[in-house]
């Protein structure tokens, strides 16, 4: 049974279905792996072994009765941004210290409805604000991957670094994550895993701690494209409790994996070939083009002229929305309260003690760009640029069915390497953030290793609601890349 945790989600579901092992056995194997790895990797903020075994037993019982759901007995990790009833949910912030939600997020409810088992809550950047996991109040997650011949601790990316690291290190079969500017796809690329940012509105935001509401979207991180499709099918669906949740049917995503991509037109955007991009990333991109050509796709050059303005627009829009959303943390109704002489002092001290440096920085930027006299120059301007970016995509999708780009401008970097310069950290999201602004779906697929043995990912971007084509294309890239590398077990 020692190989259970190395299984894919699909492999585990098959094994459960044929009774080769039970969910209790599977869950026990993961709990042991987490207990062993977590002191080093720090992927989990909260472990829930008791609850996991209870859920596993109930799953085994339902399977015995012939009532198995699509994910029955599958052990998953949940990003700590999702509220889970009766289990501490912190958004990796001190300000939510002690907060135990009395309700369940819709996405996690959907997973439990389909039989999944929760192993615990995964570490992340505080309020999902970060690209390296270093802003977590619980300390950074360490990437299970290390450069060949090096002991240096690398970032798993962020903000869903715990989700990506846990999947890469075989601490769970798959994980939930969220993506506001690249927080699913960049960590997936840094850890050799598959990450999907679905169309805005595909997954309900109810019960997901809000960062930037017009950009936030939940999605899975998984070991394979098929696993990601299985997870997204369960996570998606209309929810009346989120007014931006789309009332559309959830396609059978797994059925798209393995479908022929012959005849699909793939756009390669000129503007993504940025200065200073490592040669290995450019070569990987060329390989991706060759793989899809060989699979029968037609490759076209396209132009997305406003690409370079996406990050600056994002760093107005996201902080503006964050400063509004995070106004609720006032020390009155839940979480941390710091004392003070007056009510205002209590507010100010609570927020000073409760928020970390990056969160404060973004709240201040947001409050500034929304303040009297600056609203038009910054916020309104950014919303107009956002429209330009979305229009670029609409024009490109007249001629092509999907776009192929690198996921991130580098492989995983060392913890501490970029934390002193906010703007250089923000540039991590240069290829991913455009998609959030336009509300489009995108997927990151592991496609190769760089010369130091670290994983790199390719990103496919699709039309709104066309995750199906992305799963077919990502499956084709996955097959062609034959990416089977795993991190060595040094922890």
């Amino acid at each position: 049974m020692s190989d259970l945790k190395g299984l894919t989600l699909k492999g585990a579901l098959d094994g459960l279905e044929t009774r080769r092992f039970s969910s209790r056995e599977l869950t026990t194997a993961f709990l042991a792996a987490i207990a062993e790895a977590n002191p080093t990797l720090n992927a989990f903020i909260t472990q829930t072994p008791g609850l996991a075994l209870e859920m596993a037993d109930r799953a085994d019982e339902r399977r015995r009765r012939g009532e198995a759901g699509p994910l029955e007995g599958a052990a998953l990790g949940i990003k700590d941004l999702f509220c889970t009833k009766g289990v501490a949910s912190s958004a990796a912030s001190r300000i939510l210290q002690g907060f135990v939600p009395p309700y369940e997020s819709t996405v996690t409810s959907n997973l439990w409805r389909d039989g999944a088992v929760m192993l615990g809550k995964l570490n992340m950047d505080e309020f999902a604000m970060g690209s390296s996991n270093e802003t977590s109040a619980f300390g950074p997650v360490v990437n299970p991957w290390r450069a060949r011949g090096s002991n240096q601790a690398l970032t798993p990316g962020g903000s869903s670094g715990g989700s990506a690291a846990a999947v890469a290190a075989d601490l769970c079969l798959g994980a939930t994550a969220t993506d506001t500017g690249g927080s699913i796809r960049q960590p997936a690329a840094f850890t050799g895993t598959v990450g999907v940012k679905p169309t805005y509105g595909r997954c309900s935001r109810y019960g997901v701690v809000a960062f930037a509401s017009s950009l936030d979207q939940a999605g899975p991180i998984a070991k394979t494209v098929e696993d990601a499709a299985l997870l997204l099918r369960s996570m998606s669906g209309h929810d009346p409790r989120d007014s931006t949740s789309l009332d559309v049917e959830v396609p059978d995503f797994p059925a798209f994996v393995g479908k022929s991509v012959r005849g699909l037109r793939i756009g390669v955007p000129d503007e993504y070939r940025i200065d200073g991009m490592p040669g290995e990333i450019a070569e990987l991109w060329d390989k991706g083009v060759a793989w899809l050509t060989a699979a029968g796709c037609e490759i076209k050059r396209v132009s997305l002229p406003h690409t370079r303005y996406a990050l600056p627009a994002y760093y107005i829009i996201a902080p503006a929305e964050a400063s509004s959303n995070l106004a609720r943390y006032d020390g009155m109704r839940y979480g941390l309260r710091a004392e003070g002489a007056s009510l205002t002092d209590v507010y100010e001290n609570t927020r000073a003690e409760g928020f970390g440096a990056e969160v404060k920085r973004r709240i201040l930027i947001g409050a500034y760009v929304l303040s009297a006299g600056y609203y038009d120059a910054y916020y309104l301007k950014a919303q107009k640029v956002r429209r330009r970016i979305a229009d670029d995509f609409s024009a490109a999708f007249q001629d092509v069915d999907a776009l192929l780009t690198p996921t991130a401008p580098s492989a995983a970097f060392a913890l501490g390497e970029r934390s002193s310069d906010p703007v250089s950290m923000y540039l991590n999201d240069v290829f991913t953030v455009t998609v959030n602004l336009a509300g489009l779906p995108a997927i990151s697929v592991p496609a190769g290793l760089d010369s130091s043995g670290l994983p790199m990912g390719l990103q496919l971007i699709g039309r709104a609601l066309d995750e199906g084509s992305l799963f077919s294309l990502a499956g084709a890239v996955e097959d062609a890349a034959g990416f089977t590398a795993k991190p060595g077990r040094w922890w």
Binding site: Y309, P312, R333, R337, E348, Y368, S371, A382, R387, P422
Partner: protein, 95 residues
């Protein structure tokens, strides 16, 4: 546009975050750096462009104005830093 320490003090007040005097100059420098990078948006011609506030084209859904959830006082108060007899306890607001 560069931000000075006075502006940071004002914005921190608006955001209800206590920032000690000695941090203001450093923060002003950091925020100015970020804003200088953001300034490049001025290059984009946005004349006549409608601001984009959402990626969902659908109209906001309406529902009957009726109570759909409730009777959860104790569940809600369970997370309060301080509560008493079914109420949140907060610092004195009115002098």
């Amino acid at each position: 546009m560069a931000i000075d320490a006075d502006t940071v003090r004002k914005v921190a007040k608006l955001a209800r975050i206590a920032e000690p005097e000695e941090r203001l100059a450093g923060l002003a420098q950091e925020l100015s750096g970020i804003l200088a990078w953001i300034e490049q948006l001025a290059e984009v011609d946005t004349d006549g462009v409608e601001p984009m506030t959402t990626c969902v084209a659908a109209r906001l859904p309406m529902r009957e104005d009726v109570v759909s959830d409730g009777d959860r006082r104790d569940e809600i108060l369970a997370n309060a830093p301080r509560s008493d007899k079914g109420f949140f306890v907060v610092p004195k607001v009115v002098e």
